[in-house]
């Protein structure tokens, strides 16, 4: 565990002495819970329709696929007309595009960013490397199956997938959301133990609390 995460006594700027326990003080201990629809089915359908038409993508390029996400924001492909836009922080976004291979070091940050997103949230795996390792099937530092670590709604294949493929993937994701099958956040809450065990198996340097939103 890192030194700054340990429990310690600190003297503040005004001379006051107090105790800090970063893991308890700065993070939430409660595990995620399953959230089911509370309204009539027709209202839930309306919600899902609305959700499908405002997909906000987290601007976190985890791998090479990020280079094809930039043209999507420009007039030629113009994903904005499909209700897709890019956001700077996890708290504002609901779609996580994992753009390519994930090294173990990035996986740790990805898990953390994913848990900070508000549900309902969706994950899209981009490129062959998220599906089964792709080019880096024998690399010691990249994970192979993304769905072991995060609930994936949709994969887009290719190395690299073209922007058109990404757009079509987003259209397919919209369909999934409208049909009420975009339940990634609930699956993550249900199988929380399993996901955490998988994550802890590869992230050797685990110095964060189990759930940190």
């Amino acid at each position: 565990m890192k030194k700054e995460l340990e429990k310690r006594t600190v003297t503040g700027p005004d001379g006051q002495v107090f105790e800090v326990d970063p893991l308890k003080d700065y993070f939430c201990e409660a595990t995620p819970t399953v959230q089911t629809g509370e309204y009539l089915q027709i209202v839930e359908d309306l919600f899902n329709w609305a959700r499908s038409n405002s997909i906000w993508v987290l601007g976190f390029g985890t791998g090479c696929g990020a280079i094809e996400m930039r043209p999507l924001m420009t007039p030629r492909f113009d994903a904005y007309r499909y209700g897709v836009q890019w956001r700077a922080t996890p708290r504002q976004s609901n779609l996580f595009i994992v753009s390519g291979y994930l090294s173990v070091k990035t996986l740790k940050r990805v898990v953390r960013a994913y848990e900070q997103m508000q549900s309902p949230k969706y994950v899209m795996g981009l490129g062959s490397c998220t599906i089964n390792g792709g080019m880096y099937w024998d690399s010691y530092n990249t994970i192979k199956q993304l769905d072991d670590y995060l609930p994936v709604d949709l994969y887009v294949t290719g190395c690299m997938p073209r922007p058109e493929a990404l757009l079509s993937g987003i259209e397919a994701l919209k369909k999934i959301i409208r049909e009420g099958r975009g339940e990634g956040a609930n699956i993550y809450a249900e199988r929380f133990e399993w996901y955490k065990a998988n994550q802890k198996k590869v992230i050797q340097d685990w110095d964060m609390p189990d759930y940190n939103w």
């Binding site: 070091k105 089964n132 390792g133 099937w137 024998d138 690399s139 010691y140 192979k144 199956q145 340097d205």
Partner: protein, 176 residues
């Protein structure tokens, strides 16, 4: 290139000069004389640019080869200095005083090959890997395929074909 080598030979005990191209040559330097050779090359011979510093693992000879590649822009020549260090006890003097940027290369070599550079700044801090506990991954005896299979799960129905064997079968079905 030959004249630089002759001048260096007067002071230092060097190995053979291997001229790969007219503008690229390699010399083997004893471990203890490296710093002096580097300073001499930088200050007197105009090799002011450190291109790269890397290591090669000669596991058969039980040695690491460190390559310091220097460049002289005026004369448009490159000179590679090779230093052989024992693989059992890989310790080398640091050159971050001569080129501050070498500290980065040395941090990487420490992590990837396990070569220790004495007094190099930040040498023990992790650089690329995080929480790595196996043997340093760029060493020849580290098997990346085996490690990947043990650590990360494959899809059960995945079939891996070695491309070379596969091509051989495709091209020569009768096995010649």
């Amino acid at each position: 290139m030959r004249d630089i080598y002759e001048r260096l030979l007067k002071t230092f005990s060097l190995g053979e000069l291997i001229e790969q191209r007219p503008d690229l040559a390699f010399i083997t330097v004893p471990q203890a004389q490296l710093q002096d050779v580097l300073i001499r090359l930088r200050d007197r011979e105009g090799f002011t640019h450190l291109v790269l510093l890397t290591a090669v693992d000669w596991i058969e000879d039980n040695q690491f080869q460190l390559t310091y590649l220097l460049s002289n822009r005026e004369a448009a020549v490159d000179l590679g200095l090779r230093v052989m260090i024992p693989r059992d006890e890989p310790v080398m003097s640091s050159i971050h005083i001569i080129w501050p940027t070498a500290a980065t290369y040395q941090r990487e070599l420490k992590e990837m090959f396990g070569i220790d550079f004495l007094d190099s700044p930040g040498i023990d801090e992790p650089f690329i890997l995080e929480g790595w506990s196996d043997i340093p991954p760029y060493r020849r005896d580290f098997d990346t395929k085996k490690y990947a299979e043990e650590t990360y799960s494959n899809r059960p129905w995945r079939e891996t074909l070695d491309p070379q064997e596969h091509m051989k079968k495709q091209l020569y079905p009768d096995g010649t």
